[in-house]
């Protein structure tokens, strides 16, 4: 009897153990669009912070202009949107009027004055076309200011092209990344790893297609990248006239990264060339170096920052007159001990063939309203991103140091759980563009999964949305993003040739309002807004912290502790607890002392009485 019991028990245990290993992970159907991450790194559904309000295809609004081809750069200012139609070698300007988008013009050529013609020479010919423009930067500047800053050379007599032919391109566009520069030996402890045959990180620069290595992507594990080759860009063969649909007059200053013409062209709103930035001269640059500007910004001091292909020392800074002045914000990454050791053991030939420890290239940059540069890096190691040693997003001050605040429960790195969101993509998010809003929140665009991640000024994630797909609000291959105003985001899809307009919902506006109130010091009002947000989204930990902080200031420590606990904010919980403990101690200190006194006094009295009794008895 007893043995059968035992046997049954053992059998039961065996079966339950087996069953526990049998249960395979069931695919969950949590196909939400907007979400946040909890303290534990789990995705939590969130109400939509942005909603798609427009899906703009060039061929729909202006059939004559055809569609965008591998558009890779975009800039919004006021109601204007400039798009670099990279493979079509043109720039399209849109304007938004009453929620509708119209084409203002399509720019194929710059207007060149005689005085400036010499600077516009490419391969010995004055070339006023653009070849593979990858980025455009626009800022406000009146004509008077421009004349004061840059002189009136550009307004002179226009250059007569006559029948001067364009240089006919015979070979594919140049590519710096074929031969990465050997890092200076002295700085060997800086740099992440890039394999020596790493291509220029993505197809937007158009280097695919001409070498045999296009099949293998430089970075491993990038499933989103494969099978996504574009045709190599073709140089313009004629000087096409610009097409102007709406004649406008704006006080703008335009910078175009004319990448395959190896120059940044600076012009006024009518595309009259004011100056040209090209041929940077510096001892770190070899003679063979060819300047290929990819992304540009121009700050309030009229310095131009260029992210150039194959340049690993950071962003290139150019002064107002177009001379190269410095590198800014070189990525310093520590090489691990074993990597160093391994390198020591290798032969010279192996070392040359193997990985090189060079700082990683930036891939995009954008300027916030106070002149700080937000820059993104995508060629990073997944593990480094996860450990926080690699920073996919940086905020650079003028010294080039990273001043981004990372106080959230997770580093600003996009997706935190990588595998289960979408089966088509794996690995860390790869940021390729960033927008900084006036309230110091910022959005990052993730190429891996076609997502947009929003962070507040403390580095807390506010929400993420978007995905790979074909329906509205999903993307094929995002390339750029910019904000039309504080509540409208435009996202450019290079493969589909579309611009998707997102407009902030009530929910998103509430978050911004709460953040703003908090920043201005109106803690109570901010808590009220956070409470409203919680009604929409009970998962939102930041809201609990916001309310907790207001309660903490009001002196309701116990309540505050409850909110901080909900948000797993142990720092603030500790602050609240310190005050709460004070309160409790103050309240009960009297009882405590009385109790202690009684404990001390009573035995003494008892002893005394006993002694007395004893004496009486003995007496």
């Amino acid at each position: 009897m007893k043995t059968t019991h035992k046997r049954l028990l053992v059998l039961f245990m065996l079966v339950s153990l087996l069953l526990s290993s049998l249960s395979t992970a069931l695919a969950d159907d949590d196909d939400w669009y907007t979400y946040t991450y909890s303290y534990w790194g789990e995705e939590m559904a969130s109400p939509n912070a942005y909603a798609v309000t427009n899906d703009i295809y060039l061929q729909d609004i202006d059939p004559e202009l055809g569609s965008l081809s591998n558009a890779s750069g975009m800039f919004c200012i006021d109601n204007h949107t400039f798009v670099c139609d990279t493979n079509n070698n043109r720039i399209i300007e849109y304007i938004r009027e009453d929620g509708k988008y119209k084409v203002v013009r399509a720019i194929y050529t710059f207007n060149v004055s005689k005085a400036i013609a010499e600077d516009m020479k490419f391969n010995g010919v004055v070339d006023n076309t653009m070849f593979s423009p990858t980025d455009i930067f626009v800022k406000k500047m009146t004509k008077e200011e421009r004349l004061k800053l840059y002189g009136d050379k550009y307004l002179g007599e226009p250059y007569d092209f006559g029948s001067e032919p364009l240089p006919q391109p015979t070979e594919a566009p140049v590519d710096n990344t074929e031969e990465p520069k050997e890092d200076a030996e002295g700085g060997s402890d800086e740099g992440a790893t890039t394999t020596s045959d790493a291509d220029g990180e993505d197809g937007e620069t158009g280097e695919t297609g001409e070498t045999g290595e296009t099949g293998e992507t430089g970075e491993t594990g990038e499933t989103g990248e494969t099978g996504e080759q574009q045709a190599a860009p073709v140089a313009p063969t004629e000087r096409k006239d610009n097409i102007i649909r709406i004649d406008m007059d704006c006080d703008y200053e335009i910078f175009v990264a004319d990448s395959q013409h190896n120059r940044v062209v600076h012009c006024d709103y009518d595309f009259n060339v004011v100056s040209v930035i090209k041929d940077p001269k510096d001892e770190t640059l070899t003679d063979k170096y060819i300047f290929i500007p990819i992304k540009i910004v121009n700050d309030n001091a009229h310095r131009t920052y260029v992210q150039a292909q194959g340049v690993v020392n950071g962003l290139m800074e150019f002064s107002k007159d177009g001379t190269f002045t410095a590198y800014v914000g070189a990525a310093k990454v520590v090489v691990g001990f074993f990597q160093k050791l391994w390198r020591k053991l290798q032969t010279r030939a192996q070392r040359k063939r193997g990985e090189q420890y060079v700082p990683t290239e930036y891939n995009n940059l954008s300027l916030d309203s106070r002149g700080f540069i937000y820059a993104t890096i995508s060629a990073l190691d997944d593990q480094d991103i996860y450990a926080g040693t690699a920073t996919p997003i940086r905020k650079l001050n003028s010294m080039g140091s990273d001043i981004l605040i990372r106080n959230g429960s997770h580093f600003p790195m996009g997706d935190i759980s990588w595998g289960n969101i979408q089966s088509t993509a794996s690995g860390a998010s790869k940021f390729i563009d960033v927008i900084a809003f006036d309230n110091d929140t910022y959005c990052c665009l993730d190429k891996t999964r076609g997502k947009i991640f929003a962070y507040d000024f403390q580095g807390n994630m506010l929400y993420a949305f978007g995905s790979i797909g074909y329906s509205k609000g999903r993307f094929n291959r995002v390339t750029a993003m910019d904000n039309l105003d504080e509540e409208t985001i435009l996202v450019l899809d290079g493969q589909r040739g579309s611009i998707t307009e997102f407009t902030m919902t009530e929910y998103g506006k509430m978050i911004n309002e709460a953040l703003l109130l908090y920043k201005q010091g109106y803690y109570d009002q901010s808590a009220e807004v956070w409470k409203r947000i919680l009604q929409y989204n009970g998962n939102f930990e930041l809201a609990y912290v916001g309310i907790g902080r207001a309660l903490l200031r009001k002196g309701e420590y116990k309540e505050a502790m409850k909110y901080f606990e909900n948000a797993h904010d142990s720092e603030n919980y500790s602050k609240a607890f310190r005050h709460y403990r004070e309160q409790v101690v103050e309240k009960y200190i009297v009882y405590f002392i009385v109790g202690l006194a009684i404990l001390i006094i009573i035995p003494k009295i008892v002893r005394k009485i006993r002694k007395l009794r004893k004496e009486i008895r003995e007496a």
Binding site: L18, E571, S574
Partner: protein, 224 residues
């Protein structure tokens, strides 16, 4: 039933209860005088299995209470993923494997201890954990995050103390020299790894076999 009841009655009527109390109190002597204590524990029969079980149960309870009642600031428990069973097994399974592995190793290397003595010694060596851990749970609810380092220090201290006691237990129970004892501990840990590996291998093979049968069954059911 009657037998059990009378057994319990006997336990309290005779010197069972006082013996139990005495052996349990002996744990306090052991942790302060480990060499002496562990020698007498088995050789002089001053310990009992009942007391050993009590200490193990207290250890498990301390661990569970630690997870549950330690102040939020010092307690990083994800409740949605917390399982009492897993946490209990998390202590009991390594304990059992340790005892088995240590027995296997010491049997080969001339150890004097029997399995129940190894178990008893190990259990007595765990005493510092509940002894320090339980007050620390209470104290953790009275400190802020900065003061919480003391909580961590004391708990780490308890673990180091327990580890040292386990080593002493191995030395005394098996009558080893210091070097031999350390070697025995190391080999026991290796043995634990081997046992776990074999168990995992066994279960994964069995589950594969079962899966095979299940899938065949399913296939047949679908075809019919």
């Amino acid at each position: 039933m009657r037998k059990i009841l009378s057994g319990i009655a006997q336990f309290f009527k005779g010197d069972g209860w006082s013996n139990y109390r005495k052996t349990l109190r002996y744990a306090l002597y052991v942790i302060l005088h480990p060499f002496d204590g562990f020698w007498d524990l088995t050789h002089e029969k001053r310990g009992s299995m009942a007391a050993a079980h009590t200490i193990v149960i207290l250890t498990v309870l301390t661990h569970l209470w630690d997870r549950r009642f330690t102040s939020f600031m010092l307690n990083n428990t994800q409740w949605s993923k917390f399982s009492i069973v897993m946490n209990t097994l998390g202590i009991l399974v390594p304990l059992v494997i340790w005892v088995v592995a240590n027995w296997c190793v010491t049997t080969l290397f001339d150890g004097k201890g029997r399995m129940r003595e190894i178990y008893m010694g190990t259990a007595y060596a765990l005493t510092p954990y509940p002894l320090i851990g339980l007050p620390m749970i209470v104290i953790s609810n009275m400190v802020t995050k900065e003061e919480g380092v003391f909580y961590t220090y004391f708990n780490v201290f308890a673990l180091i103390w327990a580890g040292f006691l386990i080593l002493c237990a191995v030395l005394m129970i098996h009558d080893y020299s210091l070097l031999g004892g350390i070697l025995a501990v190391i080999f026991s840990i290796v043995g634990m790894a081997v046992i776990m590996f074999i168990v995992l291998l066994f279960f994964s093979l069995i589950s594969d076999a079962v899966m095979y049968v299940v899938s065949i069954y399913k296939e047949i059911v679908f075809r019919l």
